[in-house]
Point group: C2
């Protein structure tokens, strides 16, 4: 299969074999509007060429995107970063590549991949929360992804955690990601100190910079409030945190787990884990969507690109001739 994860700035693609080997991983710039659709089409054609050069037959492609995504119809309703509105993505990419294309939502596909291959393996009720510049969530309940009536479920970053709180760039007030995201922490620290800083700089100053400590405490309070809400509404077994924000490590995880346990006075708190697939999760999920569209059962494991130099033969045939 060809698999592409469409991000706001870059496309992440690879060739993924039915046996679970990830080959030829690479990235391309995304662009916006019709140019973004063209960039994805070109990238898929290049990946198909690479697959053929490796002797791999291409059965289809999976492409996942941000925005409000109707998986059934293959349409993207609205994706702000890509400047897309009502884009019939599946049909455009199929026409442009001559391949069957499955489309899906990037975060939901990442959640599916974490469930099949990663930190939530075999767990039917869990939440994946990628925290980067903003905050998203893939909600899975009884083994199914929550999509919503308009494909817009999982907007954890914009739930209100502070009544009449600070204004979010989205226009709402008190959104979780105003306080607890890479963008939010950087913005709030800079507003207090006048010093432009990235979130990791703020984390590096913890313990010897009062402004950094205050901004971080607010982030922990907002995030633990959001996890409390998710737990009470969806009762997940596990919460998986991903994204660049988790590079804060124990400065994030230790107090977050403690706050969550303290806030949930009358019920156990779910386990909070880190993502295993990291930034590959969306692309791996795209591969799974393509396999499912072709009636291929996903493999029990996905080998990451760095460990897939040697391709194992599958079912007696040379793997490089297997369907991907």
């Amino acid at each position: 299969m060809l698999a592409v994860d469409v991000g706001g700035s870059s496309l992440k693609g690879a060739v993924v074999t039915a046996a679970g080997h990830t080959l030829a991983p690479s990235t391309r710039p995304t662009g916006t509007g019709a140019a973004a659709v063209e960039a994805i089409t070109r990238f898929l054609l290049e990946l198909a060429d690479q697959a053929r050069a490796m002797g791999v037959r291409v059965a289809g492609a999976g492409v996942v995107t941000p925005g409000t995504v109707d998986e059934g119809a293959g349409n993207v309703g609205y994706a702000s970063n890509l400047e897309w509105r009502d884009v019939p993505l599946r049909d455009l990419l199929s026409a442009g590549t001559g391949l069957p294309v499955a489309t899906g939502h990037d975060v939901r596909a990442a959640g599916l991949a974490e469930q099949l291959f990663g930190a939530a393996r075999g767990i039917d009720d869990f939440v994946l929360i990628p925290i980067g510049t903003g905050v998203a969530a893939a909600l899975r309940t009884s083994g199914h992804g929550v999509v919503g009536a308009t494909g817009a479920a999982g907007e954890l970053g914009h739930i209100p955690v502070v009544l009449d709180g600070e204004r979010c760039p989205c226009g709402q007030r008190g959104c979780l990601e105003v306080y607890a995201s890479g963008g939010g922490v950087a913005r709030r620290y800079a507003a207090r100190t006048g010093v432009p800083s990235r979130a990791q700089d703020v984390v590096a100053r913890l313990g010897h910079d009062t402004a950094a400590d205050e901004v971080w405490q607010d982030a922990l309070a907002a995030l633990s409030s959001g996890l409390t809400t998710l737990t009470l509404l969806l009762d997940p077994q596990v919460i998986v945190l991903g994204g660049g924000f988790t590079a804060a490590g124990d400065a994030l995880l230790v107090p977050l787990r403690q706050r969550l346990t303290e806030q949930l006075t009358w019920r156990p708190s779910p386990e909070v884990r880190l993502s295993q697939l990291g930034t590959d999760a969306g692309r791996s999920g795209a591969a799974v969507l393509a396999m499912r569209q072709q009636g291929i059962t996903p493999p029990p494991e996905l080998q990451s690109a760095t460990t897939s130099a040697v391709v194992e033969p599958a079912s007696g045939r040379p793997a490089l001739r297997t369907h991907v």
Copy 2:
């Protein structure tokens, strides 16, 4: 079918025919602990007698309860009002009545009934929120009820809407139902004025009692924050409000819809409707669980007890001989 909705103070039961007629509706006191299980058993036997006296054969029973309910195993893990912990309810009731019994969660069953027969008919993505002394929610996504890893999903009343807010009887701080429930409004008004009042008394004083106005504004703020969170996480098409709190009518609905629209700056707000089945929803859902257990497709309509004096023949046979 026999159908019983187990409440903290009373059992609501009826005989429901496969054609959807509700007969012999009545209530009994619930009790706690083992006495509650005995009361339900006796009530089911009485309903079975009444069914037989009407010439109706009883194929099974459905019983719904509060608490953490494992529908698959037929167990109630914990139900505080009933003082139950790890009660194998389905097996106890089957043994006590000699009938096949399906058990379920009261609020989730009410959500199922609203979807089949009520305010959310034919809608796959919606939330039912009964607001009485406390606040609960039945979450339905893509036509499925959200149950959670431990059967404890839907605890909307205890999501934090005010960071470090007022203490809830549950032990947490800032819970939605501290501010936006019958119990919460009554408690907060009494704390301000020293005048013990019910929520409906507070509503009656709106516009000429500053304390009432302030408590009500806080309730609206908390509830609209909760509905905003539900909308962003689950993307429901419709939100259905039920329970005694909705007797406030336009004093609740008009400002609530306005606040929800204002808070959701960048996405449409779902329609907010009132429940159609009201306090019958749980019992109707219990009947559906019993029908499904017996492989009987629920009827397209349920006639309420008050309109079912005349029982129509179903498929050529006298209805009073039909299976229930």
